[in-house]
């Protein structure tokens, strides 16, 4: 039905529609006077839902043209088909958007043509090509490319799907903004009242659309530069969305914090980019050759054609991945003359890449590591990893749908996505760093989540913790496991956020869990969908049966990889122990949240009494997401989702040999992971049940009074609730020094540079004054001056000028004597160094002692 060339087109439509939506919404919102108009929301939902349909279409087209190879080996094609289909259908049925019918039809049409098309157009590698060239300098080219493999498609589908759900949910959640007089209870004006403002419904959806555009651009990106571009754009959308309540100081501060912290990470990203750019001369992930593969979309959307008489833009024969690693996925380490380990770049056919002079192109191993660390620094910022994790909890200042979409499911996961996407460029050192960072993050965030009382903050810390898990998974070689967790997490975490949003909405913006309790009676749908999410994230399963929620499978995969890694590298045992402990903590705090909020007795009757279940437009997405949170990972590592993801796994990812020169760690192979799988699963399950049990005992049964524990461990509690003092630390270490330095700079300008200038100018003025005096004294009144000075000199000598002849004589005599003495004192031997001149004069040779002639 659709040729492979349609895939980029579908995705491009899905990608660009939200941008169009943004443009229309932002202007329409300004122009339309009716604040109660929901058109903006409708448009946004329509755009993103169409986007979902398009990406689903693209996924199917891709599936057809690969002959569902991804699902072939162990599972039957049907399994995936059904699964993915159900997701699509769920979305299609549930959403209220106008795009529904169209998407439905298109899907059917595609499904019909499925069988006939799959034989001839086999897609083997990723689809690559260029949409648009930003600029070109000689052989260097910066462009907007695409790189489409199964991961891209899965991400696309996931993002558009969740975004559609959240858009729908937001239509309800943000309906309070549909007014001309929105009262913000959190902001107090100077005259003591609450802050009033017109509603900003349209603006919210505009930014949400812009975010979707940016996020999709990030996913489809075919080169790391484009990733950076959209990386920044999602950052700024996040900034706008966190700071949606611009009146709230906390919101704008949190927005700033988020952006700046991300920029800190981007600083590393930029360094990584510079290294790659300088050594590889390209940013492209993969090889692409538009002409050969006939992806017309590239030329169709490409604006820039080569100039007359200029060489055609060189087609990048090999992308970064191909240059860095051979087709077997191994780095080719070589020692150059200085004994420095370098990575020799290769071409697609595994021959060495040569530069114009015929030299081997290579990059020092250290620099490749730095590049990897730099890129990963970007991921740290975006995915709120240690040590840049502190912005994410603050980002909860944004409306809850934003938290659900941006700060749990998509943007923050982009860091993990990039780490996975960029996997082939990472050296073992980088991977180890990723693993440890993930490990630390997972643990730190989980501990803080135990003591958090704000329902959204708990979820935020849990997000950080889970992102740490994903990073850990990628770092220990569990490429598929990390991404698997990314997808499952996206579902259950967005579900939980939406559920919490529902709670907040129902409780009239009450977010403190201690004021809730027993809410399940009032809002059963929310409570039970939330429970589905909690079970999923806790990783619970019924042992011995295939019945398990999605989180179990994905976490299980990560733990298995970590265990295998630990077996391979025993010195890094923490990489297994800490996640395991964290898994227990996760189960504990998630159930704590659920028990706190929904179970037990109401603690604050005011809140409880006014509480109500959310409208259907909000609960429907909850139900859809709950189903997916429970079942998206069906089959675990044998299931369709995992297989689909790992289909685009980089070559040799699970058995990358350690570089001989720099061997530090060994990545476990697939078999090794498989061998420990059941063992790891058991550990994880035990930890999860342990955590759940404790939570149930403490918060469900009330065996232990939490307040009592809090008193017992007050210092620990304080430490945790102060978020490990990270904010204080950063304030002391960075914020204040920056302010100090900046005031120094200003002072330097004012005191040193300007001071010097002022000194110069004063000097000039002084000189000018002197000059003026000189003018007045010498030029204007030379005669007077002479007369005056003569007169004054004369006056000063008047005393001597007695007019007495004899005294003058005395003066003369005394002076002569004085001069003689002076001359003798200072020139005791005379100064007759001149050579005796012939005989015209008597030579005035002075001898030390006069000697009388003996004659």
């Amino acid at each position: 039905m659709f040729s492979p060339t349609a895939i980029p087109k579908f995705l491009a439509v899905a990608w660009l529609l939200p941008l169009l939506g943004f443009a229309v919404e932002i202007f329409a919102g300004r122009w339309q006077r009716d604040r109660k108009d929901r058109t903006a929301a409708g448009l946004a939902v329509a755009c993103i839902a169409t986007g979902f349909v398009c990406s689903a279409l693209a996924l199917f087209t891709w599936g057809i043209h690969t002959g569902w190879a991804a699902l072939a080996p162990s599972a039957h094609g049907e399994g995936h088909h059904g699964e993915s289909h159900s997701a699509a259908h769920d979305a299609g049925h549930d959403e209220h958007a106008k795009a529904d019918d169209h998407g439905h039809d298109a899907e059917h049409a595609k499904a019909e043509s499925n069988d006939e098309a799959h034989a001839d157009h086999a897609i083997t590698g990723p689809l690559t090509g260029t949409f648009y060239t930003l600029a070109r300098f000689g052989s260097l080219q910066l462009s907007i490319d695409f790189y489409i493999d199964s991961l891209t498609l899965v991400m696309f589908t996931m993002v558009t799907f969740i975004a559609t759900c959240i858009h729908l949910f937001a239509t309800g959640y943000m309906s309070e903004e549909l007014t001309d007089d929105y009262v913000d209870h959190q902001v107090h004006t100077r005259n003591g009242g609450h802050f009033h403002r017109p509603g900003r419904f349209y603006r919210f959806f505009a930014f949400l659309s812009l975010f979707c555009f940016s996020m999709l651009g990030l996913v489809i990106a075919g080169n790391i530069f484009m990733v950076f571009v959209f990386w920044e754009l999602v950052g700024v959308c996040s900034y706008f969305l966190i700071g949606f309540y611009v009146e709230r100081k906390s919101a704008s501060t949190a927005a700033n914090k988020a952006f700046i912290m991300n920029r800190v990470g981007d600083f590393g990203f930029l360094i990584g980019l510079m290294v790659l750019w300088t050594y590889f001369g390209t940013f492209s992930f993969g090889a692409y050759n538009p002409e050969a593969t006939g992806y017309g979309i590239a030329s169709g959307l490409k604006v820039e054609a080569p100039h007359e008489g200029e060489e055609a833009a060189p087609t990048v024969a090999t992308g970064l991945f191909g240059m860095a690693r051979g087709s077997d996925g191994q780095l080719r380490i070589d020692q150059d003359v200085d004994g420095v380990a370098t990575v020799v770049m290769t071409q697609a056919d595994d021959t060495d890449l040569l530069d114009a002079e015929g030299n081997h192109r290579m990059i020092p191993y250290v620099l490749l590591t730095i590049a990897g660390l730099g890129i990963f620094a970007g991921c740290i910022g975006k995915s709120a990893q240690f040590p840049l994790q502190t912005w994410l909890p603050d980002a909860m200042e944004g409306p809850t749908p934003v938290s659900a979409l941006v700060h749990s499911a998509t943007m923050v996961a982009a860091g993990v996505y990039l780490a996975a996407r960029f996997y082939p460029m990472f050296t073992h050192e980088v991977l180890l760093t990723i693993a440890y960072i993930g490990c630390i993050t997972a643990f730190v965030a989980a501990t803080i989540a135990i003591v958090a009382t704000d329902i959204k903050k708990v979820l935020a810390y849990s997000t950080i913790s889970q992102l740490g898990y994903m990073m850990l998974g990628i770092g220990v070689g569990g490429w598929g496991a990390g991404l698997f967790h990314l997808i499952t997490h996206a579902f259950f975490k967005s579900l939980m956020f939406l559920a919490s949003g529902s709670v907040i909405y129902g409780c009239h913006h009450e977010q403190e869990m201690p004021k809730m309790g027993g809410l399940w009676r009032k809002m059963p749908i929310t409570a039970f969908t939330m429970l589905a999410g909690v079970i999923a994230i806790a990783g619970l399963a019924i042992p011995g049966t295939p019945i398990a929620f999605s989180g179990f499978h994905s976490k299980d995969a990560i733990v298995a990889n970590a265990l295998a890694f630990t077996y391979a590298n025993p010195s890094h045992f923490l990489l297994f122990v800490v996640p395991l402990v964290t898994a227990g903590i996760t189960a504990f705090y998630m159930f704590r949240l659920w028990f706190y909020t929904f179970a037990g007795k109401p603690r604050d009757h005011h809140v409880y009494d006014h509480c109500h279940e959310s409208p259907r437009v909000m609960t429907t997405p909850l139900i859809v997401l709950a189903v997916l949170a429970a079942g998206c990972a069906i089959g675990g590592e044998e299931g369709p989702l995992y297989k689909l993801i790992t289909f685009s796994q980089p070559a040799g990812v699970d058995a990358m040999d350690p570089p001989p020169a720099v061997a530090q760690t060994t990545l476990p192979g697939h078999e090794a992971v498989h061998a420990v799988h059941s063992q790891a699963g058991m550990y994880a399950l035990i930890a999860a049940f342990l955590g759940t049990g404790i939570a149930w005992l403490v918060y469900g049964k009330g065996v232990l009074d939490p307040a009592d524990v809090k008193r017992q461990l007050s210092s620990l509690h304080t430490f945790l609730s102060e978020k490990w003092q990270f904010d204080t630390l950063y304030d002391v270490m960075f914020v204040r020094p920056v302010h100090v330095v900046s005031s120094w700079c200003t002072a330097f300008d004012r005191v040193v540079i300007d001071g010097f200038l002022h000194f110069l100018s004063r000097l000039t003025i002084k000189v000018a004054h002197v000059d003026r005096r000189f003018d007045e004294g010498v030029v204007d009144g030379f005669v007077n001056l002479m007369a005056d000075s003569t007169y004054s000199v004369g006056r000063s000598f008047r005393v001597l000028q007695t007019g007495k002849l004899r005294q003058y004589v005395m003066f003369i005599a005394v002076s002569v004597v004085f001069l003689f003495v002076l001359v003798f004192a200072f020139f005791p031997r005379g100064s007759s160094t001149s050579a005796p001149e012939a005989d015209v004069k008597v030579s005035s040779r002075v001898v030390p002692r006069p000697e009388v002639n003996r004659d």
Partner: protein, 103 residues
């Protein structure tokens, strides 16, 4: 001529010179001052002639002393004229009285 050489003459010249200076410095009588001047000039003359004799100065020294003598004579004439005038004006030749020109 043991012990008599240029140095001895120069010493005599020095004595004459200094005597002249002291004379000029001590005598209040204008004529006395004039005499001091003569002594000074004579001291110089002695030196010139001695140089003429003992060094390669030759006739130049004598020639110079002749000039000095002649000038001294003229100077004496002028000085006397001044002295007379002074006397006419002041009824004395005490040079200390002639301080009208002081500043």
């Amino acid at each position: 001529m043991a012990g008599v050489d240029l140095t001895a003459y120069l010493l005599v010249g020095a004595v004459l010179f200094v005597c002249g200076i002291v004379c000029m410095a001590t005598k209040r009588n204008g004529i006395g001052v004039l005499m001091g001047v003569e002594l000074v000039l004579n001291g110089a003359n002695v030196n010139f002639v001695a140089f003429s004799r003992y060094t390669s100065l030759g006739l130049d020294g004598q020639m110079m002393s002749l000039f000095v003598i002649v000038l001294a004579a003229a100077e004496a004439a002028i000085a006397l004229a001044i002295a007379l005038n002074f006397y006419n004006n002041h009824q004395t030749i005490d040079v200390d009285r002639g301080s009208e020109l002081q500043g």
